[in-house]
Protein backbone atom coordinates (compact mmCIF):
# COMPACT_ATOMS: atom_id res chain seq x y z
CA UNK A 1 0.00 0.00 0.00
CA UNK A 2 1.37 3.40 -0.85
CA UNK A 3 1.78 5.71 2.13
CA UNK A 4 2.35 8.95 0.31
CA UNK A 5 0.72 9.91 -2.98
CA UNK A 6 1.62 13.06 -4.83
CA UNK A 7 -0.38 13.85 -7.96
CA UNK A 8 0.30 16.56 -10.55
CA UNK A 9 1.86 18.88 -7.99
CA UNK A 10 2.74 22.35 -9.27
CA UNK A 11 3.86 25.61 -7.73
CA UNK A 12 5.38 28.72 -9.21
CA UNK A 13 7.17 31.68 -7.66
CA UNK A 14 6.48 34.63 -9.92
CA UNK A 15 7.23 33.37 -13.41
CA UNK A 16 9.37 30.47 -12.22
CA UNK A 17 7.74 27.04 -12.21
CA UNK A 18 9.61 25.58 -9.26
CA UNK A 19 7.64 22.34 -9.26
CA UNK A 20 5.91 21.42 -12.49
CA UNK A 21 3.36 18.62 -12.62
CA UNK A 22 5.25 16.22 -10.36
CA UNK A 23 3.63 12.90 -9.44
CA UNK A 24 5.04 10.01 -7.46
CA UNK A 25 4.03 7.51 -4.81
CA UNK A 26 6.04 6.19 -1.89
CA UNK A 27 5.36 2.65 -0.66
CA UNK A 28 5.11 1.98 3.05
CA UNK A 29 8.39 0.75 4.49
CA UNK A 30 10.54 1.88 1.59
CA UNK A 31 13.33 4.43 1.22
CA UNK A 32 12.66 6.86 -1.60
CA UNK A 33 15.34 9.24 -2.85
CA UNK A 34 14.80 12.50 -4.72
CA UNK A 35 17.79 13.71 -6.72
CA UNK A 36 18.45 16.61 -9.04
CA UNK A 37 20.79 19.53 -9.55
CA UNK A 38 20.64 22.64 -7.37
CA UNK A 39 17.47 24.63 -7.83
CA UNK A 40 15.58 21.70 -9.32
CA UNK A 41 12.75 22.07 -6.80
CA UNK A 42 13.54 19.20 -4.44
CA UNK A 43 13.31 21.15 -1.20
CA UNK A 44 10.25 22.92 -2.54
CA UNK A 45 8.50 19.54 -2.69
CA UNK A 46 9.33 19.02 1.00
CA UNK A 47 8.11 22.49 1.87
CA UNK A 48 4.89 21.76 0.02
CA UNK A 49 4.51 18.53 1.99
CA UNK A 50 5.11 20.47 5.23
CA UNK A 51 2.41 22.87 4.03
CA UNK A 52 4.73 25.88 4.24
CA UNK A 53 3.76 26.64 0.64
CA UNK A 54 0.35 26.51 -0.98
CA UNK A 55 0.51 24.53 -4.26
CA UNK A 56 -0.90 25.96 -7.46
CA UNK A 57 -2.52 22.64 -8.28
CA UNK A 58 -2.24 18.97 -7.46
CA UNK A 59 -3.05 16.53 -4.71
CA UNK A 60 -1.11 15.49 -1.61
CA UNK A 61 -2.32 12.36 0.12
CA UNK A 62 -0.80 10.69 3.16
CA UNK A 63 -2.33 7.47 4.53
CA UNK A 64 -5.76 8.46 3.19
CA UNK A 65 -5.53 12.01 4.60
CA UNK A 66 -5.69 14.99 2.29
CA UNK A 67 -2.76 17.16 3.37
CA UNK A 68 -4.15 20.20 1.57
CA UNK A 69 -6.99 20.37 4.09
CA UNK A 70 -4.47 20.76 6.93
CA UNK A 71 -2.13 23.51 8.10
CA UNK A 72 1.62 23.34 8.69
CA UNK A 73 1.14 22.72 12.41
CA UNK A 74 -1.06 19.64 11.84
CA UNK A 75 1.36 17.70 9.65
CA UNK A 76 3.49 16.34 12.49
CA UNK A 77 0.41 15.03 14.27
CA UNK A 78 -0.37 12.83 11.24
CA UNK A 79 3.04 11.24 11.57
CA UNK A 80 5.23 13.17 9.14
CA UNK A 81 8.54 14.42 10.51
CA UNK A 82 11.23 16.31 8.63
CA UNK A 83 14.69 17.77 8.83
CA UNK A 84 15.87 20.95 7.15
CA UNK A 85 18.62 21.50 4.64
CA UNK A 86 20.21 24.34 6.63
CA UNK A 87 19.29 23.10 10.11
CA UNK A 88 16.44 24.64 12.05
CA UNK A 89 17.36 23.72 15.61
CA UNK A 90 16.43 25.71 18.70
CA UNK A 91 19.91 27.12 19.15
CA UNK A 92 19.73 28.55 22.63
CA UNK A 93 18.28 25.39 24.12
CA UNK A 94 19.95 22.13 25.14
CA UNK A 95 19.92 18.96 23.06
CA UNK A 96 17.50 17.44 25.55
CA UNK A 97 15.10 20.38 25.28
CA UNK A 98 15.24 20.20 21.49
CA UNK A 99 14.38 16.52 21.52
CA UNK A 100 11.60 17.02 24.07
CA UNK A 101 9.96 19.56 21.75
CA UNK A 102 9.80 16.63 19.34
CA UNK A 103 7.42 15.01 21.84
CA UNK A 104 5.06 17.98 21.65
CA UNK A 105 2.51 16.14 19.48
CA UNK A 106 2.17 13.49 22.19
CA UNK A 107 1.37 16.03 24.91
CA UNK A 108 -2.13 15.63 26.36
CA UNK A 109 -1.80 17.72 29.53
CA UNK A 110 -3.97 20.82 29.88
CA UNK A 111 -2.35 24.20 30.49
CA UNK A 112 -3.49 24.56 34.08
CA UNK A 113 -2.07 21.14 34.97
CA UNK A 114 1.25 22.30 33.52
CA UNK A 115 0.98 25.53 35.49
CA UNK A 116 0.63 23.54 38.73
CA UNK A 117 2.95 20.75 37.53
CA UNK A 118 0.60 18.10 38.86
CA UNK A 119 1.40 14.41 39.28
CA UNK A 120 0.01 13.53 35.86
CA UNK A 121 2.35 16.07 34.22
CA UNK A 122 5.32 14.57 36.08
CA UNK A 123 4.34 11.09 34.87
CA UNK A 124 3.91 12.29 31.29
CA UNK A 125 7.27 14.10 31.42
CA UNK A 126 9.01 10.94 32.64
CA UNK A 127 7.41 9.01 29.80
CA UNK A 128 8.57 11.57 27.23
CA UNK A 129 12.03 11.50 28.73
CA UNK A 130 12.20 7.72 28.45
CA UNK A 131 11.24 7.91 24.75
CA UNK A 132 13.79 10.67 24.15
CA UNK A 133 16.48 8.63 25.88
CA UNK A 134 15.72 5.72 23.53
CA UNK A 135 16.39 8.01 20.58
CA UNK A 136 19.54 9.37 22.28
CA UNK A 137 20.78 5.79 22.69
CA UNK A 138 19.89 4.97 19.11
CA UNK A 139 21.85 7.89 17.64
CA UNK A 140 24.60 7.83 20.28
CA UNK A 141 23.99 11.38 21.49
CA UNK A 142 24.33 10.67 25.22
CA UNK A 143 27.54 12.65 25.46
CA UNK A 144 25.86 15.84 24.19
CA UNK A 145 22.60 15.51 26.12
CA UNK A 146 22.87 18.68 28.20
CA UNK A 147 24.86 20.84 25.82
CA UNK A 148 23.49 23.97 24.21
CA UNK A 149 23.06 23.60 20.45
CA UNK A 150 25.08 26.69 19.60
CA UNK A 151 28.15 25.07 21.16
CA UNK A 152 27.96 21.89 19.06
CA UNK A 153 29.83 21.09 15.84
CA UNK A 154 27.87 20.86 12.61
CA UNK A 155 27.91 17.08 12.30
CA UNK A 156 26.40 16.64 15.76
CA UNK A 157 23.74 19.25 15.05
CA UNK A 158 22.79 17.28 11.98
CA UNK A 159 22.33 14.21 14.15
CA UNK A 160 20.34 16.14 16.74
CA UNK A 161 17.96 17.31 14.05
CA UNK A 162 17.46 13.73 12.89
CA UNK A 163 16.93 12.68 16.51
CA UNK A 164 14.35 15.43 17.04
CA UNK A 165 12.40 14.19 14.02
CA UNK A 166 12.54 10.62 15.37
CA UNK A 167 11.11 11.77 18.72
CA UNK A 168 7.81 12.46 16.96
CA UNK A 169 7.67 8.68 16.28
CA UNK A 170 6.57 9.39 12.72
CA UNK A 171 5.39 7.03 10.01
CA UNK A 172 7.12 9.07 7.33
CA UNK A 173 10.48 10.77 7.68
CA UNK A 174 11.51 13.51 5.25
CA UNK A 175 15.27 14.08 5.22
CA UNK A 176 16.52 17.14 3.36
CA UNK A 177 20.14 16.41 2.38
CA UNK A 178 21.08 14.29 5.41
CA UNK A 179 24.72 14.05 4.32
CA UNK A 180 25.44 17.68 3.41
CA UNK A 181 28.31 19.06 5.47
CA UNK A 182 29.30 15.62 6.77
CA UNK A 183 32.66 13.95 6.17
CA UNK A 184 32.81 10.54 4.40
CA UNK A 185 32.76 8.54 7.65
CA UNK A 186 29.82 10.49 8.98
CA UNK A 187 28.03 10.03 5.67
CA UNK A 188 28.56 6.29 5.86
CA UNK A 189 27.23 6.33 9.41
CA UNK A 190 24.18 8.26 8.23
CA UNK A 191 23.59 5.50 5.65
CA UNK A 192 23.58 2.84 8.37
CA UNK A 193 21.18 4.87 10.47
CA UNK A 194 18.75 5.31 7.60
CA UNK A 195 18.84 1.54 7.12
CA UNK A 196 18.20 1.03 10.84
CA UNK A 197 15.39 3.57 10.88
CA UNK A 198 13.65 1.69 8.11
CA UNK A 199 14.30 -1.80 9.46
CA UNK A 200 14.08 -1.38 13.25
CA UNK A 201 11.77 1.60 13.65
CA UNK A 202 9.55 0.66 10.67
CA UNK A 203 9.54 4.16 9.24
CA UNK A 204 9.21 5.12 5.63
CA UNK A 205 11.92 7.52 4.49
CA UNK A 206 11.97 10.09 1.70
CA UNK A 207 15.32 11.77 1.28
CA UNK A 208 16.78 14.49 -0.88
CA UNK A 209 20.42 13.70 -1.52
CA UNK A 210 23.35 14.70 -3.68
CA UNK A 211 25.72 11.96 -2.53
CA UNK A 212 25.08 9.24 -5.11
CA UNK A 213 26.86 6.52 -3.13
CA UNK A 214 24.49 7.13 -0.20
CA UNK A 215 21.51 7.12 -2.56
CA UNK A 216 22.68 3.87 -4.09
CA UNK A 217 23.24 2.30 -0.71
CA UNK A 218 19.93 3.06 0.96
CA UNK A 219 17.19 3.80 -1.54
CA UNK A 220 14.69 1.44 -3.11
CA UNK A 221 13.48 3.90 -5.72
CA UNK A 222 14.89 7.14 -7.05
CA UNK A 223 13.15 10.15 -8.56
CA UNK A 224 15.19 12.59 -10.63
CA UNK A 225 13.84 16.08 -11.20
CA UNK A 226 15.32 18.85 -13.31
CA UNK A 227 13.89 22.36 -13.45
CA UNK A 228 10.84 21.23 -11.52
CA UNK A 229 9.99 18.41 -13.91
CA UNK A 230 10.31 14.67 -13.40
CA UNK A 231 12.86 13.27 -15.84
CA UNK A 232 13.20 9.72 -14.55
CA UNK A 233 11.80 7.49 -11.84
CA UNK A 234 12.70 3.94 -10.95
CA UNK A 235 15.44 1.80 -9.50
CA UNK A 236 18.80 3.44 -8.79
CA UNK A 237 20.68 1.97 -11.76
CA UNK A 238 18.00 2.93 -14.25
CA UNK A 239 17.80 6.56 -13.06
CA UNK A 240 21.55 7.08 -12.83
CA UNK A 241 22.16 5.93 -16.37
CA UNK A 242 19.15 7.76 -17.79
CA UNK A 243 20.45 10.08 -20.54
CA UNK A 244 18.48 13.13 -19.33
CA UNK A 245 19.78 12.75 -15.78
CA UNK A 246 23.32 12.41 -17.07
CA UNK A 247 22.97 15.51 -19.23
CA UNK A 248 21.47 17.51 -16.34
CA UNK A 249 24.43 16.71 -14.11
CA UNK A 250 27.26 16.63 -16.64
CA UNK A 251 25.97 18.68 -19.55
CA UNK A 252 25.44 17.51 -23.14
CA UNK A 253 28.29 15.73 -24.86
CA UNK A 254 28.99 17.86 -27.84
Amino acid sequence: MSLLEIENLSISFGGLKAVDDVSFTVEEGSVYAVIGPNGAGKSTIFNLLSRFYEPLSGKLKFANNDLLELGAKDIARLGIARTFQNLELFEHASVLQNLLVGRHVHNTQSWWRQLLFTGSVVEAELEHRTKVEEVIDFLELAHYRNQIISSLPYGVRKKVELARALCIEPKLLLLDEPSSGLNPEETEEMGFWIEDIRRDLNMTVVLIEHDMSLVKEVSDRVLAIVNGKVVAEGAHGFVQSHPEVVSAYLGDSQ
Binding site: N47, S50, F52, A72, K73, D74, I75, A76, R77, A81, R82, F84, Q85, N86, L87, E88, L89, F90, E91, H92, A93, L96, Q97, L100, V101, G102, R103, H104, V105, N107, Q109, W111, Q114, L115, L116, F117, V121, V122, E125, L126, H128, R129, T130, E133, S150, S151, Y154, R157, R164, I168
Partner: protein, 358 residues
Protein backbone atom coordinates in the same frame (compact mmCIF):
# COMPACT_ATOMS: atom_id res chain seq x y z
CA UNK B 1 33.06 22.15 41.41
CA UNK B 2 29.99 20.02 41.92
CA UNK B 3 29.42 16.83 39.98
CA UNK B 4 25.86 15.58 40.09
CA UNK B 5 25.25 11.88 40.27
CA UNK B 6 21.94 11.27 38.57
CA UNK B 7 20.11 8.03 39.17
CA UNK B 8 16.70 8.74 37.67
CA UNK B 9 15.01 11.10 35.21
CA UNK B 10 12.88 12.63 37.95
CA UNK B 11 15.94 14.47 39.26
CA UNK B 12 15.97 16.57 36.11
CA UNK B 13 12.38 17.65 36.76
CA UNK B 14 13.09 19.05 40.23
CA UNK B 15 13.26 22.83 40.54
CA UNK B 16 16.13 22.57 43.04
CA UNK B 17 18.69 20.36 41.34
CA UNK B 18 20.88 19.69 44.36
CA UNK B 19 21.44 20.45 48.03
CA UNK B 20 23.17 23.73 47.22
CA UNK B 21 20.09 25.01 45.40
CA UNK B 22 17.80 23.93 48.20
CA UNK B 23 19.97 25.65 50.80
CA UNK B 24 20.61 28.95 49.03
CA UNK B 25 17.14 29.50 47.57
CA UNK B 26 15.58 28.46 50.89
CA UNK B 27 17.80 30.93 52.68
CA UNK B 28 16.98 33.66 50.16
CA UNK B 29 13.23 33.23 50.69
CA UNK B 30 13.68 33.18 54.49
CA UNK B 31 15.75 36.37 54.39
CA UNK B 32 13.22 38.06 52.11
CA UNK B 33 10.40 37.21 54.51
CA UNK B 34 12.53 38.46 57.41
CA UNK B 35 13.26 41.84 55.83
CA UNK B 36 10.51 43.64 57.82
CA UNK B 37 12.22 42.53 61.04
CA UNK B 38 15.45 44.24 60.04
CA UNK B 39 14.50 47.40 58.17
CA UNK B 40 12.10 50.22 58.91
CA UNK B 41 9.43 51.99 56.86
CA UNK B 42 11.32 53.77 54.07
CA UNK B 43 13.48 50.80 53.04
CA UNK B 44 10.52 48.42 53.19
CA UNK B 45 8.72 50.74 50.78
CA UNK B 46 11.72 50.64 48.44
CA UNK B 47 11.88 46.84 48.74
CA UNK B 48 8.16 46.58 47.95
CA UNK B 49 8.72 48.65 44.82
CA UNK B 50 11.51 46.30 43.72
CA UNK B 51 9.23 43.29 44.27
CA UNK B 52 6.49 44.93 42.20
CA UNK B 53 8.99 45.64 39.42
CA UNK B 54 10.11 42.03 39.60
CA UNK B 55 6.52 40.83 39.23
CA UNK B 56 5.91 43.09 36.21
CA UNK B 57 9.27 42.02 34.76
CA UNK B 58 8.35 38.37 35.26
CA UNK B 59 5.26 38.97 33.13
CA UNK B 60 7.25 40.67 30.41
CA UNK B 61 9.94 37.98 30.56
CA UNK B 62 7.37 35.26 29.76
CA UNK B 63 6.46 37.16 26.59
CA UNK B 64 9.74 38.73 25.50
CA UNK B 65 12.39 36.57 27.10
CA UNK B 66 10.88 33.14 26.56
CA UNK B 67 8.51 33.54 23.62
CA UNK B 68 10.57 36.16 21.79
CA UNK B 69 7.73 38.68 21.32
CA UNK B 70 8.99 42.18 22.05
CA UNK B 71 6.42 44.33 23.83
CA UNK B 72 6.96 48.05 24.18
CA UNK B 73 3.59 48.52 25.85
CA UNK B 74 3.57 46.52 29.03
CA UNK B 75 2.74 49.60 31.08
CA UNK B 76 -0.76 49.20 29.59
CA UNK B 77 -1.28 45.95 31.48
CA UNK B 78 0.05 47.56 34.65
CA UNK B 79 -2.51 50.34 34.13
CA UNK B 80 -5.40 47.93 33.54
CA UNK B 81 -4.46 45.96 36.66
CA UNK B 82 -4.01 49.07 38.78
CA UNK B 83 -7.29 50.76 37.81
CA UNK B 84 -9.31 47.53 38.00
CA UNK B 85 -7.99 46.81 41.47
CA UNK B 86 -8.62 50.35 42.66
CA UNK B 87 -12.13 50.45 41.18
CA UNK B 88 -13.23 47.15 42.75
CA UNK B 89 -11.84 48.19 46.13
CA UNK B 90 -13.66 51.52 45.82
CA UNK B 91 -16.91 49.61 45.24
CA UNK B 92 -16.40 47.89 48.58
CA UNK B 93 -15.13 44.52 47.37
CA UNK B 94 -12.27 42.79 49.21
CA UNK B 95 -8.86 42.09 47.70
CA UNK B 96 -10.02 38.52 47.10
CA UNK B 97 -12.26 39.91 44.37
CA UNK B 98 -10.22 42.93 43.31
CA UNK B 99 -6.90 41.14 42.70
CA UNK B 100 -8.27 38.28 40.57
CA UNK B 101 -10.37 40.80 38.65
CA UNK B 102 -7.22 42.87 38.02
CA UNK B 103 -5.47 39.79 36.65
CA UNK B 104 -8.53 38.74 34.65
CA UNK B 105 -9.19 42.10 33.01
CA UNK B 106 -5.51 42.46 32.20
CA UNK B 107 -5.65 38.97 30.72
CA UNK B 108 -8.58 39.96 28.53
CA UNK B 109 -6.60 43.01 27.45
CA UNK B 110 -3.70 40.69 26.64
CA UNK B 111 -5.99 38.45 24.62
CA UNK B 112 -7.30 41.43 22.63
CA UNK B 113 -3.76 42.50 21.77
CA UNK B 114 -2.57 38.95 21.15
CA UNK B 115 -5.05 38.06 18.44
CA UNK B 116 -3.71 40.63 15.96
CA UNK B 117 -0.22 40.71 17.50
CA UNK B 118 0.38 36.97 17.09
CA UNK B 119 0.47 37.60 13.34
CA UNK B 120 3.19 40.22 13.67
CA UNK B 121 6.80 40.00 14.68
CA UNK B 122 9.84 42.11 15.46
CA UNK B 123 9.58 45.85 15.01
CA UNK B 124 5.94 45.73 13.84
CA UNK B 125 4.92 44.00 17.04
CA UNK B 126 6.85 46.54 19.11
CA UNK B 127 5.03 49.40 17.39
CA UNK B 128 1.62 47.73 17.79
CA UNK B 129 2.12 47.17 21.51
CA UNK B 130 3.41 50.71 21.88
CA UNK B 131 0.23 51.98 20.23
CA UNK B 132 -1.85 49.84 22.59
CA UNK B 133 -0.11 51.38 25.60
CA UNK B 134 -0.77 54.90 24.31
CA UNK B 135 -4.44 54.06 23.76
CA UNK B 136 -4.79 52.65 27.28
CA UNK B 137 -3.09 55.70 28.79
CA UNK B 138 -5.44 57.98 26.82
CA UNK B 139 -8.54 55.99 27.74
CA UNK B 140 -7.54 56.13 31.40
CA UNK B 141 -7.28 59.92 31.03
CA UNK B 142 -10.72 60.31 29.46
CA UNK B 143 -12.73 57.72 31.37
CA UNK B 144 -13.01 60.02 34.36
CA UNK B 145 -16.13 58.34 35.80
CA UNK B 146 -14.06 55.22 36.56
CA UNK B 147 -10.43 56.33 36.69
CA UNK B 148 -10.85 59.87 37.92
CA UNK B 149 -9.28 61.06 34.68
CA UNK B 150 -6.27 63.31 34.81
CA UNK B 151 -7.23 64.53 38.27
CA UNK B 152 -6.28 61.11 39.57
CA UNK B 153 -7.80 58.51 41.81
CA UNK B 154 -7.23 57.53 45.41
CA UNK B 155 -6.57 53.84 46.03
CA UNK B 156 -8.01 52.14 49.09
CA UNK B 157 -5.76 49.84 51.10
CA UNK B 158 -6.00 46.08 50.47
CA UNK B 159 -8.59 44.20 52.53
CA UNK B 160 -8.23 40.52 53.41
CA UNK B 161 -10.94 38.84 55.54
CA UNK B 162 -12.13 42.28 56.63
CA UNK B 163 -8.61 43.20 57.77
CA UNK B 164 -7.21 46.38 56.28
CA UNK B 165 -3.54 46.33 55.32
CA UNK B 166 -2.20 49.72 56.43
CA UNK B 167 1.35 48.96 57.44
CA UNK B 168 4.06 48.98 54.78
CA UNK B 169 5.57 45.72 56.06
CA UNK B 170 2.19 44.00 55.70
CA UNK B 171 1.96 45.10 52.07
CA UNK B 172 5.55 43.94 51.56
CA UNK B 173 4.75 40.44 52.80
CA UNK B 174 1.55 40.33 50.73
CA UNK B 175 3.44 41.27 47.53
CA UNK B 176 6.24 38.85 48.36
CA UNK B 177 3.90 35.87 48.79
CA UNK B 178 2.11 36.55 45.50
CA UNK B 179 5.47 37.05 43.75
CA UNK B 180 6.77 33.70 45.05
CA UNK B 181 3.59 32.00 43.81
CA UNK B 182 3.83 33.70 40.40
CA UNK B 183 7.50 32.74 40.06
CA UNK B 184 6.71 29.11 40.86
CA UNK B 185 3.93 29.13 38.26
CA UNK B 186 6.30 30.49 35.61
CA UNK B 187 8.98 27.93 36.56
CA UNK B 188 6.38 25.18 36.27
CA UNK B 189 5.37 26.33 32.81
CA UNK B 190 9.01 26.43 31.78
CA UNK B 191 9.62 22.79 32.69
CA UNK B 192 6.42 21.66 30.93
CA UNK B 193 5.65 21.13 27.24
CA UNK B 194 4.18 24.64 27.01
CA UNK B 195 7.41 26.28 28.15
CA UNK B 196 9.45 24.27 25.67
CA UNK B 197 7.01 25.20 22.93
CA UNK B 198 7.43 28.87 23.87
CA UNK B 199 11.20 28.59 23.52
CA UNK B 200 10.72 26.69 20.24
CA UNK B 201 8.59 29.53 18.87
CA UNK B 202 11.22 32.05 19.96
CA UNK B 203 14.04 30.17 18.29
CA UNK B 204 12.44 29.06 15.02
CA UNK B 205 8.79 29.35 14.09
CA UNK B 206 9.29 27.28 10.96
CA UNK B 207 10.64 24.20 12.68
CA UNK B 208 8.31 24.52 15.65
CA UNK B 209 5.45 24.23 13.16
CA UNK B 210 7.04 21.20 11.57
CA UNK B 211 7.10 19.63 15.05
CA UNK B 212 3.39 20.18 15.55
CA UNK B 213 3.58 23.33 17.69
CA UNK B 214 0.98 25.95 16.82
CA UNK B 215 2.93 29.22 17.10
CA UNK B 216 -0.25 31.31 17.05
CA UNK B 217 -1.69 29.45 20.03
CA UNK B 218 1.58 29.60 21.96
CA UNK B 219 1.93 33.34 21.37
CA UNK B 220 -1.64 33.99 22.50
CA UNK B 221 -1.00 31.87 25.59
CA UNK B 222 2.21 33.77 26.36
CA UNK B 223 0.41 37.10 25.92
CA UNK B 224 -2.38 36.14 28.30
CA UNK B 225 -0.10 34.72 31.00
CA UNK B 226 2.19 37.71 30.66
CA UNK B 227 -0.70 40.17 30.88
CA UNK B 228 -2.16 38.42 33.92
CA UNK B 229 1.09 38.55 35.89
CA UNK B 230 1.77 42.14 34.87
CA UNK B 231 -1.83 43.03 35.76
CA UNK B 232 -1.28 41.66 39.26
CA UNK B 233 1.87 43.73 39.53
CA UNK B 234 -0.20 46.74 38.45
CA UNK B 235 -2.71 46.07 41.23
CA UNK B 236 0.09 46.16 43.79
CA UNK B 237 1.64 49.20 42.14
CA UNK B 238 -1.68 50.94 42.80
CA UNK B 239 -1.33 50.15 46.49
CA UNK B 240 2.28 51.25 46.54
CA UNK B 241 1.45 54.57 44.84
CA UNK B 242 -1.86 54.94 46.69
CA UNK B 243 -2.79 57.62 44.13
CA UNK B 244 -3.19 56.85 40.43
CA UNK B 245 -2.84 59.20 37.48
CA UNK B 246 -2.64 58.08 33.82
CA UNK B 247 0.80 59.72 33.49
CA UNK B 248 2.35 57.02 35.67
CA UNK B 249 1.72 54.49 32.92
CA UNK B 250 3.52 56.32 30.14
CA UNK B 251 6.02 55.07 27.62
CA UNK B 252 8.89 55.50 30.07
CA UNK B 253 7.51 52.81 32.36
CA UNK B 254 7.23 50.35 29.45
CA UNK B 255 10.79 51.07 28.39
CA UNK B 256 11.96 50.72 31.97
CA UNK B 257 10.41 47.25 32.17
CA UNK B 258 12.04 46.19 28.94
CA UNK B 259 15.34 47.66 30.12
CA UNK B 260 15.02 45.71 33.32
CA UNK B 261 14.77 42.29 31.70
CA UNK B 262 17.49 43.04 29.15
CA UNK B 263 19.84 44.27 31.89
CA UNK B 264 19.08 41.28 34.09
CA UNK B 265 19.53 38.72 31.34
CA UNK B 266 16.98 38.00 28.65
CA UNK B 267 15.46 34.53 28.73
CA UNK B 268 16.19 33.69 32.37
CA UNK B 269 14.03 33.91 35.48
CA UNK B 270 17.08 35.02 37.47
CA UNK B 271 17.47 37.94 35.10
CA UNK B 272 14.09 39.33 36.14
CA UNK B 273 15.20 39.65 39.73
CA UNK B 274 18.68 40.98 38.99
CA UNK B 275 17.14 43.57 36.69
CA UNK B 276 14.46 44.58 39.17
CA UNK B 277 16.99 45.05 41.95
CA UNK B 278 19.30 47.07 39.72
CA UNK B 279 16.60 49.36 38.33
CA UNK B 280 15.04 49.76 41.78
CA UNK B 281 18.35 50.69 43.42
CA UNK B 282 19.26 52.92 40.48
CA UNK B 283 16.06 54.94 40.88
CA UNK B 284 16.69 55.39 44.57
CA UNK B 285 20.32 56.21 43.85
CA UNK B 286 19.46 58.79 41.21
CA UNK B 287 16.98 60.56 43.46
CA UNK B 288 19.52 60.65 46.30
CA UNK B 289 22.29 61.83 43.96
CA UNK B 290 20.00 64.51 42.54
CA UNK B 291 19.72 66.13 45.95
CA UNK B 292 23.45 66.15 46.62
CA UNK B 293 24.50 67.30 43.15
CA UNK B 294 24.57 71.00 42.25
CA UNK B 295 21.15 72.01 40.96
CA UNK B 296 22.59 72.87 37.52
CA UNK B 297 23.13 69.12 36.94
CA UNK B 298 20.74 67.48 39.39
CA UNK B 299 17.84 69.68 38.34
CA UNK B 300 18.18 68.92 34.63
CA UNK B 301 14.97 67.54 33.20
CA UNK B 302 15.24 64.06 31.67
CA UNK B 303 18.31 63.02 33.65
CA UNK B 304 16.73 59.66 34.56
CA UNK B 305 15.91 58.49 31.03
CA UNK B 306 19.41 59.62 30.02
CA UNK B 307 21.09 57.45 32.64
CA UNK B 308 18.84 54.48 31.85
CA UNK B 309 19.58 54.83 28.15
CA UNK B 310 23.31 55.09 28.72
CA UNK B 311 23.29 51.94 30.86
CA UNK B 312 21.24 50.02 28.29
CA UNK B 313 23.68 50.91 25.51
CA UNK B 314 26.59 49.90 27.71
CA UNK B 315 25.08 46.53 28.60
CA UNK B 316 24.17 45.67 25.01
CA UNK B 317 27.67 46.59 23.88
CA UNK B 318 29.65 44.82 26.59
CA UNK B 319 27.46 42.11 28.11
CA UNK B 320 24.49 41.19 25.91
CA UNK B 321 23.61 38.30 28.21
CA UNK B 322 22.94 40.71 31.07
CA UNK B 323 23.87 40.53 34.72
CA UNK B 324 22.86 36.88 34.98
CA UNK B 325 25.08 36.01 32.01
CA UNK B 326 27.98 37.79 33.70
CA UNK B 327 27.27 35.93 36.93
CA UNK B 328 27.38 32.57 35.10
CA UNK B 329 30.81 33.52 33.78
CA UNK B 330 32.07 34.54 37.21
CA UNK B 331 30.67 31.36 38.73
CA UNK B 332 32.32 29.08 36.21
CA UNK B 333 35.55 31.04 36.62
CA UNK B 334 35.46 30.11 40.30
CA UNK B 335 34.34 26.53 39.66
CA UNK B 336 37.06 25.74 37.15
CA UNK B 337 39.49 28.10 38.83
CA UNK B 338 42.94 27.34 37.53
CA UNK B 339 41.81 26.07 34.11
CA UNK B 340 39.10 28.57 33.19
CA UNK B 341 39.44 29.99 29.69
CA UNK B 342 37.76 33.19 28.57
CA UNK B 343 36.96 31.53 25.26
CA UNK B 344 34.55 29.13 27.03
CA UNK B 345 31.76 31.63 26.52
CA UNK B 346 32.77 32.95 23.16
CA UNK B 347 29.82 32.79 20.81
CA UNK B 348 30.16 30.05 18.24
CA UNK B 349 29.34 30.90 14.68
CA UNK B 350 25.70 30.53 13.86
CA UNK B 351 24.80 28.35 10.92
CA UNK B 352 22.49 29.56 8.22
CA UNK B 353 18.79 29.19 8.73
CA UNK B 354 16.25 28.78 5.99
CA UNK B 355 15.46 32.43 5.50
CA UNK B 356 13.57 31.61 2.33
CA UNK B 357 10.55 30.40 4.24
CA UNK B 358 9.95 33.67 6.02
Amino acid sequence: MRILFKTNYKQDLNLAKHGGHRFWYGLLILVLFAVPLIFDGYYIGEATRILIYAMAGLGLMVLTGFTGQVSLGHAAFLAIGAYTNAWFLAQGFSSFVALPMAALLSMIGGLLVAIPAARMSGIYLAIATLAFAIIVEDVAGHLSSITGGNRGMMVDVPILFGYQIWESWELYLFVLSILVAATLAVLNILRSPLGRAMIAVRESEVSSQALGVNPMKIKVFAFTVSAAITGLAGAFLAHYMSFLTPQIFGILLSIQLLLMIVLGGLGTVHGVFFGAVLIGLLETGISIAKDSLPSSIGGLPGIEPFIFGAILVGVIAFEPTGIYGRWIKIRSYMEFFPVYRRKSFKRQRAYLKTERLR
